[in-house]
């Protein structure tokens, strides 16, 4: 079983394995196998297309957490030039689960902040699986205030299972750190674009997710609690995560149809990890056009519109 493929992708994985085998044989064979390879390749593509045209919410959640999925630094590297990472909250520590700094997009300077997961085991631990502690959120807030001071737009990349639930995190005020960011971002006087690139896990995601535009990649998810958490509370069993993912409506397209997300960016065939460059290119276009559009508004209008946007979230009746 190829670990690069998820459960539901196994038929594709088998085809791809066959293609690799033929290529290997073809190299030192007199028989020309190119035709056969091309035939299998197109079969594999159409199989991928058909599987991916009908993904369940749970399958999309698995793609959002795919171990090869591009993370914040992968996008920063592809989208921006001159990235200078800035460290520390000036109070306690530098949290590696959140990265941030100065960078240029098409020459224009901005501040970028994002949650960062690790690729190998050692880095995963160092980055705490992308679960920030209060010092991470306070570093983010420090960088946001710097953006405001120097009139630089803010771009945030959201990719976290959630804020870290630990003893130290509670002692240092995890709740307050998240709440403070929501409070400050609601009136931060610069254009803000938030992008969910993988997992948008609850308050830990929202803490860098308040802004003027919310973009989600096609196979990213955003939810009030993880499907597993929801399942273990409401279904009394974490095995029902699949049902919970469906019921909560965690996918980009569903949230877009509910009016909670402004824009959904299509991913390359098979997901962003199959072609990170192509994904980055489409993300760059989206960032440039959104920032251009936001820059045209006066600050007062921008902040009034941002307030209205959040005030309008909610579904209720009135008698």
């Amino acid at each position: 079983m190829n670990m690069n493929f998820l459960d539901f992708e196994q038929p594709i994985a088998e085809l791809e394995a066959k293609i690799d085998e033929l290529r290997y044989v073809g190299d030192d064979s007199v028989v020309n196998l190119n035709e056969e390879i091309a035939r299998l390749k197109s079969k594999s593509d159409s199989l991928t297309r058909s599987i991916f045209s009908n993904l369940s919410a749970w399958q999309i959640a698995q793609l959002a957490r795919h171990p090869s999925r591009p993370y914040t630094l992968d996008y920063i590297e592809r989208l921006f030039s001159g990235f200078e990472e800035l460290h520390g909250d000036r109070c306690y520590a530098d949290d590696a689960a959140i990265v941030g700094g100065l960078a240029r997009l098409e020459g224009e300077p901005l501040v970028v902040i994002g949650q960062q997961k690790g690729r190998d085991t050692k880095e995963k631990v160092r980055r705490n699986f992308g679960m920030p502690r209060p010092e991470g959120y306070r570093k983010a807030l420090r960088l946001m205030r710097m953006a405001e001071r120097f009139k630089l737009p803010l771009v945030t990349f959201i990719d976290t299972p959630g804020a870290y639930p630990g003893v130290g995190a509670e002692e240092r005020g995890q709740s307050e750190a998240i709440a403070r960011n929501l409070f400050e971002m609601s009136r931060l006087a610069v254009p803000i674009v938030n992008v969910v690139i993988g997992e948008g896990g609850s308050g830990g995601a929202l803490a860098i997710g308040v802004g003027d535009r919310l973009i989600m990649l096609e196979y990213s998810i955003y939810s009030v609690i993880s499907p597993e958490g929801c399942a273990s509370i409401l279904w009394k069993s974490a095995d029902k995560a699949e049902d919970a993912a469906e019921a909560m409506g965690v996918t980009a397209d569903r949230l877009n149809s509910l009016g909670l997300v402004d824009e959904v960016l299509r991913e390359p065939l098979g997901g962003a990890h199959r072609d990170a460059d192509a994904m980055a290119q489409s993300l760059r276009n989206a960032l440039v056009s959104n920032l251009d559009e936001l820059r045209r508004h006066s600050l007062d209008d921008l902040l009034a519109a941002r307030y209205q946007r959040f005030a309008s979230f909610g579904r209720f009746r009135e008698e």
């Binding site: 308050g203 929202l206 909670l260």
Partner: protein, 287 residues
């Protein structure tokens, strides 16, 4: 669950009415076990006269004992919850709502009233914990935002008593967005220099603690209240060790710098009135 319960369709099933304070002439303190005369407990604003345990109380009782009688206007009373996701787990969200509404006589988990406290005009809200764990969905968020708006336009202080497990899962991302909605409303109050006092009561966790509850100009808690971002069980699972004594209790939070003060419920009115009078540069209120 017995065979009869299993047989009944979920919509006609109602759980036993759960009350934070049991009915009857006598009541028992769940902390020290003393048998107490109910009238005496009521007179003592539901604080055990023997051990000072602060019992959980409903939103109406809370506001009734906190605000001056008469001259009260309820805010957002006509708001009713919807089921935007048509959410269903073992039970439909609609049925859970109906059940909670019957059990509590409330339409949702927040009550907001504009009135007076020791003569001082205030807007006060309180979470109803018996209504789906005081969870914050669209109606809670909207009522809170409207309360903040009344407070802003009349420039009178806002006070919120929180008692909540967090965001309401059944409304999905709409619930999460109530965190930013309520925080944005508080940012407007702060900009206008209108004070907000957050009183955290047992328990205040999750999305409510990580938004409006921690954003008070003054953060207050009742003694011994459980306050935190993650629940103790989740933390225990994550760290795999037993949690320190008194972890996530008010006294622990005060020690770690998250609270301004812990106030006994019996002194709540006087203490808050005194603080608010100073913040708004008024004469010391007469109690």
């Amino acid at each position: 669950m017995n065979w009869f319960d299993k047989l009944m369709p979920s919509k006609i099933k109602t759980q036993r009415r759960s009350r934070s304070v049991p009915e009857g002439l006598w009541t028992k303190c769940e902390a020290c076990g003393s048998v107490l005369y109910r009238n005496e407990v009521e007179r003592n604003v539901y604080v055990c006269p023997k051990c000072d345990h602060h019992m959980r109380i409903g939103a109406r009782t809370r506001l009734k004992t906190f605000l001056d009688p008469g001259d009260q206007t309820e805010i957002g009373a006509g708001l009713l919850p919807e089921d935007p996701l048509r959410f269903k787990d073992s039970k439909r969200y609609r049925d859970r709502l109906t059940q909670a509404q019957r059990a509590t006589d409330e339409t949702d988990a927040l009550v907001a009233i504009s009135g007076r406290m020791l003569g001082m005009p205030v807007v006060a809200c309180a979470f109803e914990f018996s209504f789906m764990g005081g969870s914050m969905g669209s109606v809670v968020g909207e009522r809170f935002a409207r309360a903040a708006k009344v407070s802003l336009s009349s420039r009178i202080p806002l006070i919120c008593f929180s008692a909540s497990g967090g965001a309401r899962m059944q409304e999905g991302l709409f619930s999460l967005m109530q965190m930013s909605k309520t925080s944005a409303a508080l940012a407007q109050l702060a900009e206008a220099g209108v004070p907000f006092v957050s009183v955290m009561t047992d328990p205040t966790t999750g999305g409510v603690s990580a938004s409006l509850a921690m954003l008070g100009d003054i953060n207050v808690a009742e003694p011994q209240a459980l306050i935190g971002f993650a629940g103790p069980r989740v933390i225990q699972q994550t760290v795999g060790e037993t949690l320190p004594e008194g972890f996530q209790r008010s006294e622990f939070l005060l020690e770690h710098g998250a609270l301004d003060m812990i106030v006994d419920r019996r002194q709540m009115r006087e203490r808050l009135a005194s603080v608010l009078a100073m913040l708004t540069r008024q004469a010391q209120p007469q109690s």
